[in-house]
């Protein structure tokens, strides 16, 4: 190479990178680092749960003496107390009714909305409505709580359970519609056309073809909505008048007294209240994670 050329030659960034070969850490080191991070993250997530389990096993004096340590003995008296508390069981029933009604409603209506947005709407209108759904996800619930209460009162809806069912049914809809829209967009249009030719009505296509195909996203939405609504406290506080309508999260706050709190019993009640969501998650874990990764990578 001539000197003149060498002077004008300026190595680019890519070339400097090329000159220095990337030295990867040995596989076992990488694996070790990966596990270390996961273990730390799990510990952070699990500590409060373990603390709760330990607390639930203690008696009140034992807890006051030693709030963070392990219990002296394993005893389930606190759990028995909670399960024997009829008022708490009533709250469980209230929660079950409210969530049990809201979850199917949100799952089915979001699936229908998602399907329409994916298929039947003209592009411009569909996008506008989709943005409305998206927008609803960004509105803090605190802003709409009071207007919601006033609306309920004006509509003459007195029953606390009905109020909650109404609100809970749309609370999760923004996210759910997005998931369903992404899913239905991935279903080939020919399936709809084939079903129409085979004699299905537009609703028949949805009901007989799309719903069975959408089992995974429906499970995802049902489980996620269940977990979110089962633990929902804020709207319950705002919308419920009657003590008999209280849901479980609201009921649990009652166990905190003004002057003293029976922490071990509260811990036991909290643990028991988490059982349904834990069971649901454990059963559908695979479906949820796979569907979640699919709906975020598609569309």
């Amino acid at each position: 190479m001539a000197d003149g050329e060498a002077v004008t030659y300026a190595p680019g960034r890519a070339e400097t990178r090329m000159e220095r070969p990337h030295r990867a850490a040995p596989p076992f080191v990488r694996e070790l680092a990966r596990y270390a991070i996961l273990i730390v993250a799990s510990a952070i997530a699990l500590y409060p749960v373990l603390w709760l389990v330990a607390a639930a096993m203690k008696t009140q004096p034992e807890y006051i003496q030693n709030p963070t340590g392990l219990p002296h003995s394993i005893n389930f008296t606190n759990f028995q107390t909670v399960l024997g508390n009829h008022v708490l069981l009533r709250y469980v029933l209230n929660s079950a009714i409210v969530v049990g009604c809201a979850v199917p409603i949100v799952t089915v209506t979001s699936a229908m909305a998602g399907y329409s947005l994916a298929r039947l709407w003209g592009k411009a209108g569909g996008t506008a409505i989709l943005f409305l759904f998206l927008f609803s996800e960004f509105v803090p619930i605190g802003i709409v709580a009071i207007p919601l209460l006033l609306t309920m009162q004006q509509l003459g809806i007195e029953s606390g359970k009905v109020r909650l069912i109404c609100v809970y049914s749309v609370l999760m809809m923004g996210f759910a519609v997005l998931v369903f829209r992404a899913f239905f967009r991935s279903v080939p249009e020919e399936l709809r056309e084939a079903a129409r030719l085979d004699g299905c009505s537009e609703f028949g296509v949805f009901w007989r073809i799309m719903v069975p195909l959408a089992r995974s996203p429906m499970t995802l939405i049902a489980v996620i909505s269940f977990i979110a609504l089962w633990n929902e406290l804020f709207l319950a506080v705002v919308l419920l008048n009657d003590a008999t309508d209280r849901t479980l999260p609201l009921g649990l706050t009652e166990l905190r007294g003004t002057y003293s709190t029976d922490w071990p019993t509260l811990a036991a009640a909290l643990l028991l209240s988490a059982v349904p969501t834990l069971v649901l998650y454990a059963v559908f874990q695979n479906k949820i994670t796979s569907q979640l990764s699919r709906s975020t990578t598609r569309d």
């Binding site: 084939a194 030719l197 299905c200």
Partner: protein, 382 residues
């Protein structure tokens, strides 16, 4: 069973694109007709309008005597086989085939009988309990056919049903389709861009381009007497070769390497002069320079590529004749001619080669419009 009739049908999309332009076509009861053309020519749109999956902008579509423009797809009594098969993934093969019958509330026993009969016809019996994801491409294709035939529809619509299969399976399924049509005799409208399928399957072919039917007729008629250069080039494989020529008195002159090649045409194209497009089928080439005493068109060229197919050999060669811009494949101008010669020929690229063509085998087209200049070989029509 029923006939299908397009009566001045036009399809205009919202963006103004005219996919099908004033299509009039009559498919008599029991006929197997092929709509063929390059992609975007409107053939699939025409099919989808018959199915009711696209609205008709103008004109009427009749199934039998009934005008079906506004009839819901489910009430048109037609079955369609999609290119992607469109099998319902959550149903077994049996349920897929039974679905259209179930929708029509056919009694369970009859559903069972009809599904099993179709399965027997298509060799699907061992697969009835499987799901589409557990089937091969060919099997899925047969299930799609099965779903169409269980209904005993008035007409079949097929949208490139074989295009997702490999070459060997496609040949096999082509045979099965032909046998099925022979046996069931149901009116069939079949869309493809594959001219081999068109030539072998259909009792009639309609060649489409830019939403307009260029010519329709029996395969041999389209092959022997194409109405214009587009049809001539589209039907036949490998396609027809084209070059520019001049009609002078009763002779045809084309560019040659040294001096223009000249051939007397006799009385087949009387009284015309001026520039023309000359079409030569690959099989019309005979190797070697023609006898100067005889009236043959001799072309000299240089071998480009040789494809030895065993029973025949394709020789692609460059010739100095001007090849019209009109002749393009996927937007690329064609630069070589192809000759189809019987048996094995030993030629090497770069070699000089001569061919002669009987003037009776020449096709002449108007240089501007591409229309055929004379009704060639009309006496040989089938």
């Amino acid at each position: 069973m029923a006939s299908i009739r397009f009566d001045g049908v036009t399809k205009r999309f919202k963006d103004g694109t005219v996919a099908v332009n004033d299509l009039s076509l009559d498919v008599p009861d029991g006929e197997f007709i092929i709509l063929v053309g390059p992609s975007g020519c409107g053939k699939t749109t025409a099919l989808r309008m018959v199915a009711g999956l696209e609205d008709v902008s103008e004109g009427s579509i009749y199934l039998g005597d009934e005008r079906v423009n506004d009839v819901d797809p489910g009430y048109r009594d037609i079955a369609m086989v999609f290119q992607s098969y469109a099998l319902f993934p959550h149903m077994t093969v049996y349920a897929n085939m039974a679905f259209p019958l179930k929708m029509r509330r056919v009694a369970k026993r009859e559903v069972n009988e009809r599904v099993r009969e179709a399965a027997r016809l298509l060799g699907l019996e061992p697969l009835l309990a499987r799901r589409p994801s557990q089937l091969s491409g060919g099997q899925r294709q047969r299930v799609a056919m099965g779903r169409a035939i269980v209904r005993h529809p008035a007409a079949f619509l097929m949208d490139e049903p074989l295009s997702n299969l490999d070459a060997k399976l496609r040949t096999e399924m082509r045979g099965q389709l032909a046998r099925m049509h022979l046996r069931l005799g149901v009116t069939t409208l079949y869309v493809t861009h594959d001219q081999t399928e068109a030539m072998t399957l259909g009792s009639r072919i309609a060649v489409m381009k830019d939403g307009i039917v260029q010519q329709s007729g029996p395969p041999q008629e389209l092959y022997r007497a194409p109405r214009n250069a587009f049809v001539a080039r589209f039907i036949g494989s490998p396609p027809m070769n084209f070059m520019h020529g001049e009609l002078v008195d009763d002779a045809l002159v084309v560019d040659g390497p040294d001096e223009p090649a000249r051939v007397r045409l006799g009385e087949r194209w009387p009284g015309r002069s001026g520039s023309v497009l000359v079409g030569i089928r690959p099989e019309a080439f005979c190797e070697g320079a023609g006898d100067p005493a005889e009236d043959v068109l001799t072309l000299h060229g240089e071998v480009d590529v040789v494809e030895d197919l065993g029973a025949e050999t394709m020789v692609y060669f460059r010739h100095s004749a001007r090849i019209p811009e009109l002749v393009q494949v996927d937007g690329q101008p064609v630069e070589t001619f192809v000759a189809r010669l019987e048996g094995m020929r030993l030629h090497t690229p770069g070699e000089r080669i001569s061919f002669h063509v009987d003037p009776a085998a020449l096709y002449l087209f108007d240089a501007d419009s591409g229309d055929a200049l004379a009704p060639q070989l009309t006496h040989e029509r089938l």
